[in-house]
């Protein structure tokens, strides 16, 4: 089974803040990590390969420094990695990113299954998985919490929704996006780490994937960010202290006054 996993390198979001004086994102010193949900996607692919055999290729679109995320994937045991990188891709929103990844995957050739994390923790859009599937004209199922089995060219998965789950058969080739709870991510082995150091990362440019430049990067992005700002501060916090029954009755009164209960 040929499995492709799409990953994104993201800033560790808990550290990203806006500098109040300059109103710019403070990114300096913020470490880059592999998007956590994508680590679950890699794990799902490796697990499937161990069960049914095959080949796992990890693909990412981004600037040259994304190479480090791909080396981390090699350390975990994936077979191939591909970095789709070109200045023409700068400024891509989810539309242009989906197009570029799809062109890259088409260039790689045959695949049975493409796995994505449910969303990236910097943008939280969850749009690229379904987007790539649309460009490749294959079915997609999102929010997969379990891969039940793969048999006769059909993959059976459990898809989670707000108050339950569905058991779904999907004909291969297809795409899925996975939740954190699908698995526990493995640690890289020492052998894997050694391999990652010297491994060759394949690179594809806009020309290599035969991309239409009017559909890449900023040119291919229908949306534009016009403003960024820090969320407005909440009203003042009030700490309630004192004897418990008094504190609680005071709290309940306040909630009643605010018509919250």
């Amino acid at each position: 089974m040929d499995i492709i996993v799409c990953i994104k390198q993201v800033p560790d979001t808990s550290d990203v803040k806006i500098n109040p004086e300059t109103n710019t994102l403070m990114r300096e010193g913020v470490p880059s990590i592999t998007n956590p949900f994508d680590e679950n996607a890699i794990e799902a692919a490796l697990h499937l390969k161990e069960k049914v055999g095959g080949n796992v290729t990890v693909v990412s679109m981004g600037p040259p420094q994304v190479e480090s995320a791909l080396r981390d994937a090699i350390a975990l045991g994936v077979d191939n990695t591909v970095l789709i990188s070109d200045r023409a891709f700068a400024g891509a929103d989810t539309w242009a990113t989906s197009y570029t990844l799809a062109k890259g995957i088409e260039t790689l050739g045959k695949y049975d299954l493409i796995i994505f994390g449910k969303q990236a923790i910097d943008g939280d859009t969850a749009q690229v998985g379904p987007g790539v599937a649309e460009f490749l004209n294959i079915p997609v199922v999102t929010y997969v919490r379990k891969i039940v089995e793969v048999k006769d060219n059909i993959i059976t998965v459990e898809r989670m929704f707000e108050d339950g789950y569905e058991v779904i058969d999907i004909k291969l080739p297809c795409a899925i996006t996975v939740l954190k709870e699908i698995n526990t991510v493995r640690m890289p082995s020492l052998k894997g780490k050694m391999k990652a150091k010297t491994a060759v990362i394949d690179k594809l440019s806009a020309q290599d994937i035969n991309a239409d430049l009017s559909l890449c990067g900023l040119n291919g992005s229908p949306t534009q960010v016009v403003k960024i700002f820090t969320p407005p501060p909440k009203g003042k916090r009030e700490m309630l202290c004192g004897e418990i029954s008094e504190t609680v009755s005071c709290l309940c009164q306040k909630l009643k006054d605010l018509k919250a209960i």
Binding site: T13, Q127, V140, Y165, I168, T223, M239, L251
Partner: protein
């Protein structure tokens, strides 16, 4: 790359200060754009000398003017309209009034005419109703086919859908097919009246930052919207509207839903709850949720949970609030024994009122709280129950 700096630049460094990505430096009194530029356009609009230009492919005004009206995708399960769809009708009505256009709803399913009538009562002037047994269960492919065809035929200028497990799964595919922009999980909408643009505001970077996004040269302007951020439309049984019914052909058979299991029967879905009582590691044991359930029952609220309690197997993942779980926006969020990791805060800090109960006065949850009580939840919650049962 589509950005260039011309000779008008005097190196004033205004652009350096507004660049969100630190991608501009001044060298020899001229702005130099670095590789990490994302072409966001912040510098272009702030430059007083028109020295920075970003090339964009513009759609002609004529093409844009063909698109009219505000659409709301009305999501139903088992024929029941989802709350978020009714909230979107409330907001959609306002947007439509500002633009001077009609508000329409779109509904897919099998035997959903009753729900379609309800949509009229909630303010839709037109309802596009697609019925087919194969639309009974949600599948990305069939929903995408029907929605994209409708958009191409009727050309709305705005399409809104709930940021639910359905909306966030198929609307991205629709946006690709009709070649337009889509903004995910918005918490605020407004109209720029001069340009007739939808200003779509959403949290990014785990809620640390808000971003306002536009879709200037493509139509429709599409957005998925978070639960509970808009007021539900009021029902008026006298309101009149047109229901356009049709039966689409569905050919796709690549995805088969074999079984639908509701694991949360008789429980309130946390996304739609007005009040959430939520437990974290500080409750100490799985039985702690029994106490929280008593409080939730009195308040007619739902039970939420932190990732730690779900990972420990104390409660199913449906209850999980945060970046890994669900994003919620209730009127009242009671955090019991939750320390407030950033990933948890990302999922609940837009709640109207937050009560934090924690033994540790330094817990970050207190930073987002409206009311904070430092103490033992096993003493405070029973006291609350007593007070509320008075």
């Amino acid at each position: 790359m589509g950005i260039s700096v011309n000779d008008n630049c005097i190196g004033c460094s205004l652009c350096v200060r507004v660049c969100p990505f630190g991608a501009i430096v001044i060298e020899e009194e001229k702005a130099i754009i670095a590789d990490n530029c994302t072409l966001c356009g912040s510098c272009e609009s702030v430059c007083k000398f028109k020295a920075i230009t970003i090339e964009r492919n513009e759609m002609t005004a004529k093409d844009l003017n063909e698109y009219k009206g505000v659409w709301v995708f009305a999501e139903q399960r088992e024929g029941k309209l989802q709350e978020v769809s009714l909230e979107l009708l409330g907001e959609g009505k306002k947007l439509a009034a500002e633009l001077g256009v009609e508000l329409s709803a779109v509904i897919f399913g099998d035997n959903v005419s009753q729900a379609a009538k309800e949509l009229v009562e909630y303010g839709a002037q037109n309802v596009y109703m697609a019925e087919n047994p194969q639309l009974k269960n949600f599948a990305v492919e069939s929903y995408t086919d029907v929605m994209s065809d409708l958009i191409k035929k009727f050309k709305p200028e705005i399409v809104l859908a709930g940021a639910t497990s359905v909306g966030r799964a198929f609307i991205p595919r629709v946006a690709i097919r009709v070649k337009t922009g889509l903004t995910a999980d918005c918490t605020e909408l407004a109209i720029d009246e001069k340009k007739r643009l939808l200003l779509q505001t959403r949290p990014a970077f785990g809620g640390n930052i808000m971003a306002t996004i536009i879709c200037p040269n493509h139509r429709p302007q599409m957005a998925t919207i978070r639960h509970k951020v808009f007021k539900k439309a009021t029902k008026d049984s006298a309101h009149q509207g047109k229901i356009v019914s049709f039966t689409p052909n569905i050919t796709s058979n690549l995805v088969t839903v074999k079984e639908v299991v509701y694991e949360m029967q008789n429980k309130i879905n946390i996304s739609e709850a007005d009040i959430i009582v939520s437990g974290g590691r500080g409750i100490g044991k799985p039985e702690g949720f029994t106490l929280l359930e008593q409080l939730a029952k009195v308040l007619n609220g739902a039970i939420g949970a932190s990732r730690a309690t779900v990972d420990a197997g104390w409660i199913p993942a449906y209850h999980q609030v945060g970046q890994t779980g669900k994003t919620v926006c209730p009127k009242l969020y009671i955090a019991c024994g939750i320390s407030g990791a950033i990933q948890h805060l990302a999922g609940m800090q837009s709640s109207d009122i937050i009560i934090a109960i924690n033994k540790d006065p330094g817990a970050p949850i207190f930073n987002v709280a409206t009311f904070g009580i430092v103490g033992d939840l096993y003493e405070i919650i029973p006291a609350m129950l007593k007070e509320l049962n008075k």
